[in-house]
Symmetry: C2
């Protein structure tokens, strides 16, 4: 009986010393050709009971909360237990500028983890972002990797998982509801009545709650007896005086709902005409998502939530989540979401799935806490593999300058994933469109297109080197790639600064196909590296944006609208000038224009807007037009998705 066996081995794990070589039972692959669909491969494998996997990697029973038999939440108390242990090697997986089909970054990460665990005999923990559920029902395609390098069960990975995103949606929207309700109550009540309602007399006594005392403290009112405040102090305390034109906070849904991109709310007669324009974003774009990903511990999580700036008041001063009284309520809604989720790869090695902001509109990394757990559990001789979304310009830059700066965990090596297909596109190949068949340029040898596309690869190699990190190029193999094409890429990679380059066939062969890559990665991690951040925090916002744009993208000039310049000035005046930068930029180009391929230089980068994420701890310049709410196409994937009411199996999801 699986469950009993799992419980017993979990008990054994508790008794032995953790943080040594794992006693991992690999799940054997039965490779088929041609490679079947992702869902068919995933279904053909029986995952280990998650309690069994937890015990294999040294987790103790009280640290694991199963959600069914294939997912579990992992307690943050593991970090306390293992605080004396040394960290594993830390490897980040990024890509070149991708085609719209993606170049297999997650697939490579999973394949590499399988290779290290099963074929190199070392501990390797993959940490992945949780995918957004909205796009799952829009255009087909999961985010669990693919082929023989995926996370299983892939439908669990791609749907609700353990509910973290739903909790984020609920928390985000509770804050929004409280914000609008508060504006309404302030507009319809006298300050004195407002005060009496906010600090009511209950059974003869009147007291401030803790969160109200914090607001008093910020206002410089050092009184604790609600009756002792002067009328002026009562008004200052009670009235947030939010400027309806300068509300930052928006509602979110994890649904591709284009009709919520711009809406007017408050039109019911019960709201007495106090309506305003606002929008919904997709949940992954919520600042709370970034905070979940960037929190170092529970205290830090709370501090960041409380300090989120949700609006400015009519005097131009920031109004925070703490001012609205919601910090604790949001923490309560997110108390389970803060625990990373354990799953497994197709070959039975461990994966932590946690947080998942889009890398174009947000910082785009899985959580610091998941990485910290994995670094301790994999231990000194092990490896932790994590990813930055899209190309190095987007995902890696933010991973290093934001996530690693926050966590203090410095990577040992960069794996840069490329495909012959993407290089051909950068070399001037025809458009690559999801759903449409690939043009012959992509399925037949074309050395000229590859050659002309190489500058994109070398730019990304140089981006990694600029941080002082060794870069291992992974050529994610397609059956149509030719020897000559591959040789061209390998030679150029080595000539232009890569530590090494390997072809990897994990999609078709699982971990075995990534063994060469694994070897290279292990060698690269032995190199001494000279890691340095790209910019210092004490540079001005403008300087930091300039450095990223020039060094990572190849831009010459950064152009700001007058409104952006003015907002950045205001952020600096209000004390937010020393935050890192989280660029929101298309992932489809090194420039701000998704149609421009290759590796152009000397271009202008236009910043159309800028926003503040004070809790997450960054300033977000918006390059060009970026939508924070996707839509559904005329024929979304929902037309194929069904459940077999006899077998209970999902059909048509991927």
């Amino acid at each position: 009986m699986l469950m009993q066996k799992a419980a017993l081995s979990l008990k054994k794990a508790a008794e032995r010393v953790v943080n040594t070589k794992w006693n991992l039972t690999p799940l054997p692959l039965r490779l088929e050709r041609p490679v079947p669909s992702d869902i068919r491969i995933a279904r053909s494998q029986q995952p280990k009971n998650i309690l069994e996997l937890a015990s294999e990697i040294g987790l103790q029973p009280n640290e694991v909360s199963p959600y069914g038999t294939t997912k579990a939440k992992i307690s943050l108390s593991v970090l306390d237990r293992l605080q004396g242990e040394k960290n594993a090697k830390y490897v980040i997986v990024v890509g070149i500028t991708p085609t719209p089909l993606g170049e297999g970054k997650s697939t490579t990460l999973v394949g590499l983890a399988q290779a290290l665990n099963v074929y190199k005999g070392v501990n390797a923990f993959a940490t992945l972002r949780q995918p957004s559920q909205g796009p799952t029902f829009g255009i087909k395609g999961g985010a669990a990797g693919g082929g023989y390098a995926q996370v299983i069960p892939m439908e669990e990975f791609n749907l609700h998982l353990t509910g973290d995103f739903h909790a984020l949606t609920a928390a985000n929207n509770l804050l929004a509801a409280q914000l609008d309700a508060r504006m309404f109550h302030e507009a319809t009540q006298k300050d004195s009545v407002l005060y009496d309602r906010l600090v009511p007399t209950i059974k003869g006594t009147r007291r401030f709650s803790d969160i109200q005392l914090r607001r008093l403290h910020r206002l410089g009112i050092n009184k604790t007896d609600p009756n002792a405040l002067t009328d002026e102090e009562r008004a200052r305390f009670a009235k947030l005086d939010i400027d309806p034109e300068r509300v930052i906070w928006t509602r979110v849904l994890d649904t591709n709902d284009r009709y919520l991109r711009k809406i007017t709310i408050g039109q019911s007669s019960t709201e007495k005409g106090i309506c305003r324009e606002t929008s919904f974003k997709i949940t992954v774009a919520s600042e709370l998502m970034a905070i979940l990903a960037l929190a170092r511990n529970l205290q830090d999580f709370k501090r960041r939530i409380g300090s989120m700036v949700v609006a400015f008041n009519r005097e131009g001063n920031p109004v925070t989540a703490d001012d609205l009284g919601v910090t604790g309520a949001l923490m309560v809604l997110l108390k389970d979401a803060i625990q990373p989720n354990l799953m497994q790869t197709l070959e039975g090695s461990p994966v932590l799935v946690h947080a998942g902001p889009f890398a174009n509109i947000a910082h785009g990394c899985s959580s610091i806490l998941a990485d910290k757990l994995a670094l301790k559990l994999a231990g000194e001789d092990g490896y932790v593999l994590t990813e930055g979304g899209f190309g190095s310009d987007i995902g890696m830059e933010k991973l290093l300058n934001i996530k690693c700066r926050t966590s203090g965990d410095i990577p040992d090596c960069v794996v840069l994933v490329t495909t012959i297909r993407a290089l051909k596109m950068h070399g001037g190949g025809p458009a690559v469109t999801p759903g449409a068949p690939l043009k012959p340029e992509y399925t037949r040898e074309n050395l000229e297109l590859v050659q002309r596309g190489l500058p994109n690869l070398t730019k990304h190699i140089s981006n990694g080197n600029k941080f002082g990190l060794p870069v291992v190029v992974c050529i994610n193999s397609f059956e149509t790639d030719t020897e000559a094409e591959i040789r061209l890429v390998k030679d150029e990679a080595l000539r232009t600064g890569a530590f090494g380059a390997a072809v990897s066939t994990h999609w078709a062969e699982g971990g075995a196909g990534a063994a060469d890559l694994a070897e290279l990665v292990m060698d690269a991690c032995e190199e001494e590296n000279n890691f340095k951040f790209l910019y210092n925090l004490d540079a001005s916002l403008d300087e930091k944006i300039q450095i990223i744009s020039r060094e990572m993208y190849g831009a010459k000039n950064v152009l700001y609208t007058p409104e952006v310049t003015q907002k950045m000035k205001m952020y600096e005046e209000k004390g937010y000038g020393n935050l890192p930068i989280c660029m929101a930029k298309t992932a489809a180009s090194l420039t701000g224009d998704p149609s421009i391929k290759g590796a152009p230089t000397g271009f202008d980068l236009k910043i159309n807007d800028v926003s503040l994420s004070a809790g997450a701890g960054f300033v977000v310049p918006i390059v060009g037009e970026i939508s924070t709410m996707p839509g559904l196409p005329t024929r979304p994937a929902i037309y194929d998705i069904d459940i077999n009411t006899e077998s209970g199996e999902i059909e048509g999801l991927f």
Copy 2:
């Protein structure tokens, strides 16, 4: 080690015969006076590992998916395994017309379950509604029962539970997004382009998906080759032609967000000016919630989802969820939500928590599937206790006429919960307001107020008797109740048709305090009953509404607006005339006016609107003004809610 022990006993359970007397280990109570806060009582009890409880009640290991150690999802396959077994007795718990504080219906249900299990030595399963998370952050108060009769852990019960409501929100809003996206795509594309996009040629072949074939079938087009359709057939297939003025479906959130009561969507330039007015409801008001509660099995669940009428087209014909292509996608999103959730009472007896529509605006019952599971698991000599929301006029009427008619499971007895407090209010006592101290009329003996309030009780007794069911009155005891007050109520209850009446002190004493009530309930269940529905389905919609209004509320005339009359006529023409009725009416009065207490007769009942829930399978007349989206007060409970970042414990939630 709890987990190991649980796994072992679950294995044993698999070996023995199920459906006999459970081997339940009671959790002992340590009663304190005065009775501490709900959360303190809940925290003072260590729940059994949920796998242990599952084994005690005869569940097999593969039927139980734990979500942590205190909650588990139960597989519907149990129904197949136990299909030959006889059902337990079926008891429904309802109330008189309540004060705004509630009269302890859930508390009584839990206390009664504890009494039957622990003090009467019979199997008793409680089935409860999952509370809405929105109000949890509005006005303090949980829905897990209270005092020494509650479900634990109460914070898990009151927050995300296992994510069912979040899944419903996601499913509801995916449908809404697809509806608006489809209207947009139809408005901006020619019919032929629309058709080609809906039925694309992929790798040289063109085929309809199953859901598209179903639409073709409904349109009477018996072709399966997409290329064989005529232009006219292509246009009919592709164009839903939804009338923007007659969209029924709305978005939902499980948040008290008054600013979403009426909104305008689609105002971004990307939507090209095609905007419209709509609203958000609270998630529990979604038709999908009613369907989750009313589905008899997976097939029935799917059929109901597909047949939801989401809008009418410009010709006045219904457009369904299946026409929008979303049935399967919604099923996939709800595949876990359809499984009931196992938890436990403070004394360690089993509770299934599943679905939770509001009883005023929806039918207000927990799920049929949870009850069916409980009826089999408790077995022939056992008891299943379930509740109808609010008073018998609201919750019980709908429980019997809708839920029991759908399930085919007929109750054996009604428990009618009353308090001296509520009777005094009905007798003319001063207003009872949440948060404010009770007036002295309620805390000192006042026989006159009780006497004058008794007609409300007798009306509810007679309501139960009208269905042919024995009614057991439970006087939910308060310390301030006097002997004389209680005698008055008991005598009147017995004189006016109650099977029996008992004082119950479960709030202060747990199951022991409900032993007398349990005795009476067991006796009542031995009575032969003459159950009959209040109306036949083949009566007209008007006749059915008349019967409910006269028989249950005491109304004389039902008044419809012309629009309502016209809509009802249209529903009957479209084939929805034989559905049962789901009245949306205030719970605070037998009439449509919440300020009218007691048991008035001869009044007029105004129906201001009517709506169709074709998938749930009922027609909803709206009595007076009923809001489907609550708001947050000036000082919501969030000001007190926090998490202790050291201990991880929630503070201030209840």
